[in-house]
């Protein structure tokens, strides 16, 4: 390397929910490993300042975030109209007519500005890509503003995958100039979606670093399974499904329940819910019980599980989801079978993760689960059988 070669800088933006002790350790390793080639600098928005102490060995820099908003601004309204520029759906009707006044907030505008120092030698910005079924508004605003900041400063922005990106929603992944994926299915999915070739997949030893799974996961999972089997009186023979329910997909989950309802008497449903998924006067649990009332009557039993206790999914024979999400990500890492039903995407199987897109294939997959359930047995049951059989 030439002596006077100036080391280029890469910025890595970290926010509150994007760091674990493992990720922190790995980033330090990466920083050290690259130090003679790349100045890997970590930046943290002031909205996530509580993590600065946790990641101090990365020498992070904090930056200010400022918000401005305008309500009912005619200028804002006109600007939005101009952006949408008379673009129409395939058979007529402009996007402006459909979305501007309600979903796009009419004349309401919010601008978040990041005061990141640009030293001029920055060659790239690394950010985590948010996903629709598990994200925080503050972090998303920073994500969006970082994209704008990078473009304004002509800095390539590269997004990396944490939660699975192989879902129907691909807007967030379309915003960076490049995407780093953690799984083949995300890589293949995005290959068909993105209008650029800046798409990479990490080797397993790096991909596994960005895991949502805590160290206590397995033992907590076992404890929870024993607990719920008792409280819900679930017989050994009943197949258990873990549904990572989300209020944004009420219709889709209802559809799935209707399809598998004929097998319902052999099934227990574990609905995962979020405390914050309250809409109007209704909690997520209430919505499930009101909207799916007719469907739930056709199942043997069901229970609710806080999504912040994901180890409880170990009790399930399979996840049954309508989209990849936080919980399916965990399931994938723990080799928990995951069945994703999405008629809008092609069928796919990767290890324990299977995506089906027809009613028939969903039913068939369910029947397989029920068949396989019969072969499973806990230590306790085995011990009991041993005890019952007695000594030879």
């Amino acid at each position: 390397m030439a002596k006077n070669h100036k080391i280029k800088k890469i910025l890595w933006l970290i926010q509150s929910n994007q760091i674990t002790p493992t990720i922190n350790e790995f980033l330090k390793l990466l920083q050290t490993r690259m130090e003679r080639l790349i100045n890997l600098s970590f930046i943290v928005p002031e909205t996530s300042s509580e993590i600065l102490e946790k990641i101090k060995d990365l020498n992070p820099t904090s930056f200010k975030v400022s918000n401005r908003s305008a309500t009912k601004s005619y200028k804002g309204y006109l600007a939005k109209r101009e952006i949408l520029n008379e673009i129409e759906f395939s058979q007529g009707l402009t996007f402006t007519d459909v979305l501007l006044l309600d979903d796009l907030g009419g004349g309401n505008v919010i601008q978040t500005t990041l005061n990141i120092e640009n030293s001029g030698d920055t060659q790239g910005l690394i950010i985590q890509i948010p996903t629709p079924l598990g994200s925080s508004e503050t972090e998303e605003r920073v994500f969006h503003s970082a994209i704008i900041w990078a473009r304004q400063n002509k800095i390539p922005v590269i997004g990396y995958e944490l939660l699975p990106l192989d879902n129907r929603w691909t807007l967030a992944a379309s915003l960076p100039d490049g995407v780093i994926t953690r799984s083949w299915e995300s890589h293949e999915h995005l290959e068909n979606i993105l209008d650029h070739n800046n798409l990479w997949i990490l080797p397993l030893y790096e991909a596994s670093i960005f895991s949502s799974v805590s160290n206590e996961f397995n033992i907590n999972g076992a404890k929870a399974s024993y607990h719920y089997q008792t409280t819900h009186k679930i017989p050994d023979t009943r197949t258990i499904l873990y549904l990572p329910h989300n209020v944004a997909m009420i219709y889709e989950y209802q559809e799935m329940l209707r399809i598998i309802a004929p097998l319902g008497k052999k099934l227990h449903l574990m609905f995962s819910y979020g405390e914050d998924q309250v809409r109007g006067a209704h909690t997520q649990k209430e919505m499930v019980e009101i909207i799916y009332k007719n469907e739930l009557e056709q199942f043997a039993s069901y229970s609710f599980h806080n999504m912040n206790s994901p180890w409880e999914m170990l009790m399930a024979d399979s996840l049954a989801a309508c989209s990849p999400c936080f919980q399916t990500n965990i399931a994938q890492e723990k080799n928990i079978p995951t069945l994703i039903f999405d008629p809008m995407l092609p069928a796919m199987t990767n290890g324990f993760k299977q995506r089906v897109n027809t009613m028939e294939s969903l039913k068939k997959a369910m029947e397989n689960l029920i068949t396989r359930k019969a072969k499973k047995m806990e230590f306790g049951t085995i011990f009991m059988q041993l005890a019952k059989a007695g000594r030879k």
Partner: protein, 694 residues
């Protein structure tokens, strides 16, 4: 009662529970008359299914109408939306009002719903569709597809419509008609961009029903008994979705808490979030535990108004109007009052503005708050806000019926005697009210109609005429026929009668107050030679100030007819092009044979008779260029142009031609290479010229 509604199917879109109160009274009425009602809900972060379930309504979801075959189309639309948004989000913040992933979910749902609504209309084939409004994506897409499918689509009004004008853009865009509560709302919508002819004040559909329900079920008595407050003085405090600081109300809670004969109900807005409410309540009850009742969705607001002795607004709220309609006294606390704000209850003299201490004083003195109200102002206010509310449901149902009738009415040829022509032209003129105008009109006809073949004039004269008009009519000589328009018979009917007795090969109909200019028959003659017999010809018509009144009719952004380049100078280049249009107004010339084939003028079309006959001619001839605008054929209005203001005429016109009226103004401007900025510039210049000349 007729059996009109038997076997008729209505589809109503419902979203939030407090919106359905406007829709369900109408649906219940129609159902009781035999109609089949179907409710539809959409995909939203805040479940719309809950609304239907809690109201006990059987519903379908828009996604129910999606099949595997639609996935490609959905994906195509989603990609188009996504790429549009991604292109913008990368560079600026305007489309970033929602977090990126929420926007993304919205885009996917929108792409799906777009196809879902199309399929819904195709599968269900309703006779009429209905939604609260078309300002959100569900209402807009539903209205669009209903129009495409030629199903009448009626909308209402969501609330008091206090927002900024541009927030209501497209309020009556794809709707066949928009039925609003009162005149004030109509004026507000029209003042920005809404089409006046499509907006009809009908009153408030749920209030009359609610008031009757309250009386019939003795709600005040039973609810007061339920809460064990029969002998208490009850205050109802109404809060909106964004909660104010609880401290503002603590003196009131304190006073009520310390007096056992006082009770206070706090009603939270349905859109208010549960966590916010819990925090708010906790802040109050941690200090004042007695005599409070906190209500979110567990009681109807109307029941609470009935229970109350005084209603207090701590913020802006539509319930102020409802309180007044219920005959209850209304108080606005001074901190919630903004001086000179539009539609202020206080400024209009229909609410009492009080400081908190003042209110508490009256409360403890057990003042009858009604005695402090200005009843005359309240009556006047309610008339303007809630036109004919007691009969609103009946009126809406009647409009629905008329709209369906118009929509399904076939075009039939005119029955009557077809005279053998012995003249070239029959000029049918409606006699104006003003004698000077009439004289000028006759003079223009006499001077400008020479040397183009023989003609007769048929005058349609009103039964009641001024002496001046009578004198002129008596003095007329030559080939003039007169038909008296009897009271109750409208001008389209009389024009048909004139058409039947006309001896001309070509029939010419003129709107009232219209005079032809030089060589008009020459240009008309040439047009028949050039284009043939199966055409209707229109003229370049100016108003009396020299501005365009008709240069061919286009359909504007709100799918309402308007003259091309309306109100621009009559010599504006865009108005000087001879070309075909979908319609022309105020003047038509056509062969008598075509007139009879189209069925002549439609009596129910009223003010829209000229436009209606053009649209019928397009159907009958199956020729999209059957209507030709002739800029060289010039006419001028000698007096004011008749306004299209009759409600029944609008119902017929928009009902009948629902699927034919699509924005064509934009295309005209593109063809003429005229930008909106150019139009604005010309309009300003034209307005300045008018100002200078006046």
């Amino acid at each position: 009662m007729t059996d009109f509604w038997k076997n008729k199917k209505i589809i109503a879109y419902i979203a939030l529970q407090h919106h359905t109160r406007f829709i369900t009274p109408v649906m219940e009425n129609l159902e009781s008359q035999g109609a089949t009602i179907k409710y539809i809900v959409g995909q939203a972060e805040r479940s719309q299914e809950i609304t239907a379930i809690e109201l006990g309504l059987t519903y379908s979801h828009i996604f129910d109408f999606i099949t595997d075959k639609n996935h490609k189309e959905i994906q195509k639309n989603y990609n188009l939306l996504k790429n549009t948004f991604a292109g913008s989000l990368k560079n600026d913040f305007f489309l970033g009002i929602l977090p990126v992933t929420v926007t993304d979910k919205t885009l996917f749902s929108t792409a799906t719903e777009y196809v879902g609504f199309k399929n819904l209309l195709k599968k269900e084939k309703p006779d009429l569709c209905f939604a609260l409004h078309e300002l959100n994506r569900w209402g807009k897409m539903f209205a669009f597809w209903a129009k495409k499918s030629n199903v009448p689509f009626i909308t209402f009004q969501e609330g008091l419509t206090y927002g900024l004008d541009f927030g209501y853009s497209g309020h009556a865009q794809y709707s066949t008609l928009n039925l609003v509560w009162g005149k004030r709302i109509k004026n507000k919508l029209v003042s920005f961009e809404a089409p006046e002819s499509k907006i009809i004040p009908v009153g408030n559909t749920h209030l009359a029903k609610e008031i009757a329900h309250q009386t019939k079920k003795k709600i005040r008595k039973t609810k007061r008994k339920k809460y064990k407050i029969s002998n208490s003085f009850v205050t109802l405090l109404i809060l909106s979705a964004r909660l104010p600081v609880p401290d503002l109300f603590k003196p009131i809670f304190k006073a009520v808490s310390e007096n056992t004969d006082q009770k206070i109900f706090v009603k939270f807005h349905p859109a208010c979030k549960k966590l916010q409410i819990d925090t708010w309540i906790h802040a109050v009850i941690s200090q004042f535990k007695n005599n409070n009742f906190f209500i979110h969705s567990q009681e109807s607001t109307y029941d609470l108004i009935s229970v109350a002795d005084v209603v207090v607004l701590g913020q802006k709220s539509t319930t102020g109007l409802e309180t007044l309609a219920f005959g209850k006294p209304l108080v606005k606390l001074d901190f919630a009052y903004t001086p000179n704000s539009a539609h202020s209850f206080v400024d209009q003299g229909v609410a009492l503005k009080m400081r908190t201490e003042e209110f508490i004083e009256h409360l403890l003195e057990k003042t009858d708050f009604s005695s402090l109200m200005d009843q005359e102002k309240i009556t006047q206010y309610l008339e303007n806000e809630l036109t004919e509310t007691p009969t609103a449901i009946k009126k809406v149902c009647a409009i629905f019926e008329k709209t369906i009738q118009a929509n399904t009415r076939p075009i039939s040829s005119l029955k009557g005697t077809h005279q053998n022509p012995d003249k070239k032209w029959s000029i049918i003129v409606q006699v104006p009210e003003n004698p000077d105008v009439f004289l000028s009109q006759l003079e223009a006809l006499a001077c400008n109609s020479e040397n183009q073949g023989d003609y007769e004039i048929i005058l349609l004269e009103p039964e009641k005429k001024s002496k001046g008009i009578v004198r002129i009519l008596d003095s007329l000589e030559g080939d003039v026929k007169k038909i008296t328009i009897q009271e109750g018979i409208n001008s389209p009917a009389m024009m048909n009668k004139a058409g039947e007795i006309a001896k001309g090969e070509i029939l010419i109909f003129l709107e009232k107050n219209l005079a032809p200019l030089k060589d008009w028959l020459y240009y008309l003659n040439n047009a028949f030679l050039k284009y043939g017999n199966d055409k209707i010809f229109g003229a370049r018509i100016s108003d009396k100030t020299g501005k365009i009144a008709n240069a061919g009719m286009v359909v504007d952004h709100n799918n309402a007819p308007v003259s091309a380049y309306l109100h621009l100078n009559i010599e504006f280049p865009g108005g000087l092009k001879e070309r075909s249009f979908q319609m022309v107004d105020y003047f038509i010339a056509m062969k008598n044979n075509l007139f009879f084939r189209t069925g002549g003028f439609t009596k129910d079309a009223g003010d829209y008779a000229f436009l209606d006959i053009c649209l019928k001619a397009l159907k009958v001839t199956n020729d999209p260029t059957a209507i030709i605008y002739l800029p060289k054929l010039k006419m001028i209005f000698l007096d004011n142009i008749p306004r299209k203001s009759n409600m029944d005429d609008s119902i017929y016109f928009y009902g009948k031609w629902n699927s034919c009226l699509w924005d064509s103004e934009k295309k005209l401007h593109m063809d003429d290479q005229v930008s909106p900025k150019d139009i604005d510039h010309v309009k300003i210049t034209s307005a300045m010229q008018s100002a200078i000349s006046s």
